[in-house]
Symmetry: C2
Subunit: 423 residues, 2 copies
């Protein structure tokens, strides 16, 4: 059915009027590109067309003429936009057959939800003669893999969960076996608390020594991610090259590097604290609960995290976090004295080993010459020993709050590394 | 320079190897599609190619042959991928001229940041002869608008902020004046707390009566958005049709509808509370600060929001929120008794008019037959009068927490509508 000729590259044709109108951001394409590249096949072009038979026909036909291998997404639904199969069948000059087993599977799937498929669903059981049917466990429209004189064509549904399931479980294993090139592999090293330009200067020597990899800087609210890419290495070779490069970067940036890949700083922090048997609490003003939210997003955080106080109004800073009116009166709520008392007060009230306190001017209003928008004070209590830091963050209110939450987590992570005093 | 012939549709060609490898999600295309559609021009096709001169040439040339009007993004940077202009100049058979004023503007821009442009930046001052230069206030590469025998071609940079600035300020005004069709307009009605299928059943009559609009259901963590689209109406007509449809929907779904467009439920809540002079506090367990985070993300939230307690561990529920050990002992931390005491305790300690308390099983572990993963108890205190509700949310840990935070905000918003007792 699918001849075993090697596949070096392929084209994507994504079908859907919504994609061109910009109502939805096309996240499918990034997933397709990445997974196909990891399988060792290159996506050489991507075309997006609206739900129109002539547009679909010309895009698919041109792509097959150029590349002989095409994956389409979309146009397999039960509604009026169910036109991909008809167009493709005509193009490949093959009839559409109604396949009873597909229909029965559909009836059973509907029955599980107490429903009966509509007449319009019958089209989903139609298959261009000769196509391999890729069973869809994530929805109703099966994927289809058709080979013919024009080349090979894989049709996938446009619903992201169904496309991803079919691509990962049905397409990639077959594609990887026929990959003509080597896989494109990447490895991300995550840093925080160091600006992109400074980072670039410091690791210039590492960058210059990368002969088999390329390096990309990906700055964001949580810090700067460094993406290393191996364009043409076998898996073991790529892994060794990544390890060498990561080692070089870590040796220079030290604990500005907190992880790799998808590592989340909150998860990394919780892991370290759990290993040392430490407990955590927060005292948040300008972040308003964001540090707590980041920490509790991690499953199992209750082993470490006790809770804390959202001390937004001054009365709550006083009443629940135990900040003195003297401290607030002396230099305002955004001050060293206040974050120190917030951290100490919440440590006392919760008994947590580590506490971070955050108070700042997130904007857009409320800034002054002495305390411009972006000014944030952090207080850290480590088993009762309190220290404080002041940082001015750039960006919007959302940027400042996000950067402040990340800075708080990073400060906690650093402080959790040293053995706590008194132990 | 740009002849005033009408433009009915155009094609996009996005240039960048990263787009095909899936390292980045292509958010540019959605923005381009939406803004161009709003200007009354239809995007008929989108092609993405890698940084390769032959690929760029064939994609641009085919698109011009089909549509006579093309916008490209990417390939205008100072590095090796600076090939769009060269390819286009060759295609239009016109030379590239070095324009001193563009170079001077670049030198001045660099000087403002205390830098000097590199020799490689000189290419950014090269312009295909006859092209209209679109000044780029957001970066270094100007946009270019070229007209010729093959049609019209607009070249924009790929950096999102620069592309968006140039498109909005330089391209759209010129394009709108020549739009061949009417604009595609849309209007979003936001609902929460009502499942998609129930919503669809209830508003079926409204949907059937839409003769000039189409309706799309967009379910998400925050609820179900209803997008109404007018495909071919003048602005005033579209506005009237949207008002009628929205009125019909609101009459049926009542206060499940909390806003339109980009309205955020937390902002809508704060507005209502501010108008009534009410204050707000939170007592969060399973959401871990997410409700506070949502509220404080809104600028000016300090007029209403006092703060509260993140009561994750039972000791913090007792110590900071005043929950009795009896309540926790009777039916555990996820129970009606506990959320009632959390709400009342935080109301007492902060003096807030409205308080929401949230305690639930966010998973993935910790579920039981009596309290499966997704079970969340909410307690609401309205000037001391406390009530409670239990909901079981579907989905992942992130889904459950996000839905619970939205439910908490919705419950507060509903309760803030009634005049508070004792006033």
């Amino acid at each position: 059915m699918t001849p075993a000729s090697p596949v070096g590259h392929l084209e994507l044709v994504t079908i859907g009027t919504e994609l061109l109108l910009g109502f939805t951001v096309d996240t499918n394409s990034a997933f397709l590109g990445r997974v196909i590249a990891e399988a060792g096949v290159r996506v050489s072009r991507r075309t997006s067309v609206r739900d129109d038979p002539e547009e679909i026909r010309s895009a698919v036909s041109d792509a097959l003429a150029r590349s002989r291998f095409v994956i389409t997404t979309g146009g397999l639904g039960p509604t009026r936009d169910d036109m991909t199969k008809k167009v493709v069948a005509a193009l490949f000059d093959t009839p559409l057959d109604f396949q009873e087993p597909i229909w029965q599977a559909l009836v059973e799937r509907f029955a599980r939800f107490g429903r009966v498929p509509a007449e319009s669903n019958r089209g989903q059981a139609e298959v261009p003669r000769g196509a391999l049917v890729l069973p869809n466990r994530w929805g109703t429209a099966p994927g289809l893999w058709l080979s013919g004189r024009l080349g090979e064509l894989i049709m996938l549904p446009g619903v992201p969960s169904e496309m991803k399931g079919l691509l990962t479980h049905e397409v990639v294993p077959r594609l990887a076996a026929r990959a003509g090139g080597r896989a494109i592999r990447s490895h991300v090293v995550r840093t925080t608390g160091i600006p992109e330009s400074t980072l670039a200067e410091r690791i210039a020597t590492v960058e210059d020594s990368l002969d088999q990899l390329t390096l990309a800087y990906l700055p964001g609210i949580e810090g700067v991610d460094l993406r290393l890419t191996a364009w043409d290495l076998a898996e073991a070779e790529a892994r060794r090259a990544f390890e060498r490069a990561e080692g070089g970067i870590r040796a220079i940036v030290g604990d500005h590097c907190y992880g790799t890949g998808d590592d989340d700083l909150a998860a990394v922090l919780l892991e370290r604290m759990k290993a040392s048997g430490l407990t955590l609490a927060v005292a948040e003003s300008c972040t308003g609960g964001m540090v707590g939210e980041r920490v509790t997003a991690v499953p199992g955080s209750s082993a470490v995290f006790l809770g804390g106080v959202i001390a937004y109004a001054n009365e709550v800073k006083a009443g629940l976090a135990g900040v003195s009116t003297d401290a607030i009166g002396a230099d305002g709520a955004v001050s060293e004295a206040v974050v120190r008392e917030m951290a100490a007060g919440v440590a006392l009230r919760t008994g947590a080993d580590l506490v971070v306190a955050v108070s700042g001017v997130a904007g857009p209003g409320g800034g002054s010459d002495a305390k411009p928008v972006g000014t944030v004070w952090f207080g850290f209590s480590v088993r009762g020993a309190v220290d404080a830091q002041r940082v001015v963050f750039p960006g919007s209110r959302a940027d400042i709050r996000g950067r402040a939450a990340q800075f708080a987590l990073h400060g906690l992570w650093r402080r959790a590394a040293a053995p706590p005093p008194g132990r």
